[in-house]
Symmetry: C2
Subunit: 279 residues, 2 copies
Amino acid sequence: MFAYIHREIVPVEKAFLHVSDLSIQRGYGIFDFFKVQDGHPYFLDDYLDRFYNSAASMQLEVPHQRDDLKSIIFSLITKNNIAASGVKMILTGGYSADGYQPAEPNLIITQHHLTLPGEDQIKNGVKIITHEFVRDFASAKTINYSTGIWLINKVKENQAVDVLYHQKGIVSEFPRCNFFIVRNDNTVVTPAHQVLRGITRKNILKLAARKYRAEEGVVTLEDIANAKEAFLTSTTKRIVPVVKVNETVIGDGKPGAVSLSLLNDLIALENEDFQSKAN
Amino acid sequence: MFAYIHREIVPVEKAFLHVSDLSIQRGYGIFDFFKVQDGHPYFLDDYLDRFYNSAASMQLEVPHQRDDLKSIIFSLITKNNIAASGVKMILTGGYSADGYQPAEPNLIITQHHLTLPGEDQIKNGVKIITHEFVRDFASAKTINYSTGIWLINKVKENQAVDVLYHQKGIVSEFPRCNFFIVRNDNTVVTPAHQVLRGITRKNILKLAARKYRAEEGVVTLEDIANAKEAFLTSTTKRIVPVVKVNETVIGDGKPGAVSLSLLNDLIALENEDFQSKAN
């Protein structure tokens, strides 16, 4: 596998950063991640928009114009030639002279084999737990996941698959996924504030609006308990039905019709995106 | 200059981490930093206590027992042989297979020439600004400084030297320093909660208690405005008098007698520590 670093494509085994990099010194950096199938990056422009926006929010300059960055991405995925993969772009604060002041950012692009959620997660749904926390710079995709990683063991101990953040009962997001509920009147709702605006989240809002009422709004822990369905979304996971939050069973405890219908619509939208670019 | 990494002492120019390290992937790691003079690390046991505690808080295991770690530190400072320096130990989440799960931690030890605050900062005091923020895992010295670094430009624009965090007017700490006020009755007070317990902070509390009343408690922005003196403390800065917070002048706008007296006491305590170990 090859990676892009220091303006070169090199075997990933040789992709190193000096310890003066501000990601190592101060956890300072942003990133993004998109899916690639047979050389086609899905919804690439949406991911690049977010990548450039995260960089600007954190006062980092991407060292390439958008078209150049696209060329680099296509060179890399052509060279690696994997059927199904994820591509990660990391932009760090650079090699800092004093370990605090940002310098010229380092851009690293890596490609990974993709692991989709198991069939049983779609069929049976998953359990999640909750934790009181709000990310700093919630609208930027920074590399700071201290709380998410710190909670990995707690998630496992509770036989859950992920942890949903809330503040005083108002829900926001998972460390790496967005969250939706389906109300009893079939309205599809996702938290509006203190969240990273996921590309899958955006697509689901668009798809849901075609069949149901869809809104960004306030979602409380109580709203979840009263919901008919709940699900999480992410680039790699697409939609995974959530059937239990802590010890509370959602709806009838099974993946719901709206969640599964939206998952099919999302797969269709991905196919559409794949076809449109292939022509 | 030499550094310790991957269980070896190497020229710092050769100190690299693979991009799969969890500090680069997810900003996950802890660190500590102490001062060294002529081969003597000041208050080393206090810093090692905190380093091991931060590691435990963040579920990371330091790959060496305390005595072995001390031996490595002394080998490194002997080899580098600098009169006045700072030593930084970073412990990261290690080379993660999936970019999220912690692995075997990487330990990096680097040594740096020391920059003390300028004479004019002690003579005239400094201006600081304030910002509403609380660090995650405030009692652990994690590498997450996103907010502090993001505020660097704001600090400069305001002709300030640092930014003091508060939450709803209750003050905690600077990104890299602790904060003290001196009340009109000469009580020396430092915020008790949501702070990193600095070694200099601890020493100042001890020294202040010999001459004045000293306490850890609640400090509000209003308390600062009404204080006679204010100062910041850190390993490298020792004590720097604060004479202006945003546009509010503290006391008579000059470094106060209590602050300067405690600075002298701290220098004396450092000398004592230096002598005791030299024997």
